[in-house]
Symmetry: C2
Amino acid sequence: MHQQPFIRSGGVEGFRCARLKLFTVGPVACYPEVLEEMGRQMYSHRSEEYIALHYETVELLQRFIETEDPVFLFSSTGSGFMEASVRNCVRKRMICCVNGSFGKRFAEVAAACGRAVERLEPPLGEPVQPDMLEDVLAGSPEAEAVAITHNETSAGLINPLRELAAAAKAHGKLVFVDAVSSMGGAEIKVDEWGIDVCFSSSQKCFGVPPGLAIGSVSGEALRLSEGAADKGWYFDFKLWEAYHERGVGTPMTSVIPQVAGLNRALKLIEERGGKSWYFDLYRERNTRIRRGVERLGLSTFPRRGYESPTVSCVKAPEGAKGPAIYEGMRGRGFELAEGYGALSETTFRIGNMGHIEMGDIDLMLGALGEVLEDL
Amino acid sequence: MHQQPFIRSGGVEGFRCARLKLFTVGPVACYPEVLEEMGRQMYSHRSEEYIALHYETVELLQRFIETEDPVFLFSSTGSGFMEASVRNCVRKRMICCVNGSFGKRFAEVAAACGRAVERLEPPLGEPVQPDMLEDVLAGSPEAEAVAITHNETSAGLINPLRELAAAAKAHGKLVFVDAVSSMGGAEIKVDEWGIDVCFSSSQKCFGVPPGLAIGSVSGEALRLSEGAADKGWYFDFKLWEAYHERGVGTPMTSVIPQVAGLNRALKLIEERGGKSWYFDLYRERNTRIRRGVERLGLSTFPRRGYESPTVSCVKAPEGAKGPAIYEGMRGRGFELAEGYGALSETTFRIGNMGHIEMGDIDLMLGALGEVLEDL
């Protein structure tokens, strides 16, 4: 069946002990308190215990992304929410901003749902700028929505979301935001910025295992969902709204461990200083990594000023390949991330999401120095 | 937003300690070894550790349900796989066997995907019999597929899957099986019985938390998926097949903790005597519960001979209501399941899935006797 031979070397013991220190881009290292939640005994998703957990988590998220829109806790990954935004809200045509693999995925998902896609595609490493979007909007009056990847993990680049959303709104378009690798690590103000669907995944900035998608859905998005013809059942916004409003949580079984883990992570953040404290922490970690990488003579990939606060995409030095550096770091006990898509050979990536201590960053940078010397 | 007031009574402590002994129908009580897996630190879904875990889990499942078809590990619940079967394989019309709430869901999902649905609907408590299906098949030559709920949790009833699949196959139809609450607790031979899509969820018979759907997909189902027009991206069988064959696991991030938990559960079953041992265990638990219930003067709901081996649907005694018994049992430390759908007032349900000891069954029956006396 599958062509890669079954790797038996590790066996159960192999996958039980992930001893590598993770600087991945998701799944990322989880907080110990979150892992404690993950290992608890189950209970029904219709029990009062779950209902309390569910709505408290929703409220914490609403506060975090500053919205009064309902937040749904999908039993899926972020890509499920991506498909939901298309199926529920777009009839024929939409604009997708593409400056990396995840923008490309949004366009691919929309096309797989039979929608016509207009791509806005700056050169790799460049942000999508509001004036570029203005041009596309002026030429596509019939487009119904604009999809924006807030943070493009594949290129280590953050797009100017607030300004892009404003441009789309000025033309009366719906705004969908893939905030998978930014929500939690960078500011997003859903209501103020006019975002209709803003989604993320548990396994990124919040430091929770994968399996849970979270997203806000605006009144306008819900209104469009009402008349949508081929939206299906699993990701039907109106069905989710009905269960949400009846106070019973989710239409299908909820991913209880991950919801409990996310709840715990959100409360940890509140206890330690709230979201501004958490954003500062991300900036501090990220700056420490980028300064360290520069001291080793390397530079980051995207245009200056648009570096992602949650993942650094680093150019491999002349004559070296990204995957070799990734492998070298594994040999020294650190799992970074390989370059992605078009950048897979020429870059490697260092995430700073989830459970990472400042001391670990220094150790990782020390190991990176050794790997570069050994090349 | 939601109308039910936020239940603050329990708070975090409330949902951390599910101290009730579970006889639910999913999420069910999980094995301690599985919970241990759930609490482990994360690693990448593209790492060799995950790839080894993934394909080993697939092989264990293929062996368990006796198929050479690929088994996909969806980041969703079983309902996601239900929708996938419709979207990938049915163009216009299908037959849905409905004798309870989950058969009804299959019909609802198919309709939400814009397909015409022919319902085969015996009276509640009666199984779908092969001759009934023959009649519908004879009158619906244009139907492309037959959806069968193997075990109907809402009525505590198991349908004669082997015979129903044979009838559908004799007419050249695709066979979709919702095995959510039977896979692991009752025999299913996918290849021999001619099942095209056979899916289940982690949180039922295997005693793992929710968030993972598992299902086999036949060559014919894959062939139909190739030409399907509006199948979308998230549940696209051909996309899953491509990743499966390339040896990289899943197209999107995998629900790693639940996959690790399921892997552990499947190995526990192998170590303790394999699937026949596990089926015997289910029969033994189930018989002990049904005999106990009968000794208390109660009877089970469905027609004799078609009682589910994984959940008993018990008629509330004259003058009493199911929910009152459910509440009484909670007060005594046992969480059963309430009646479902049309049976919500007149029945209650006792699941025997997941981590249940024989001694717990006796304690539960003792408590049930007290609850009935107090009515």
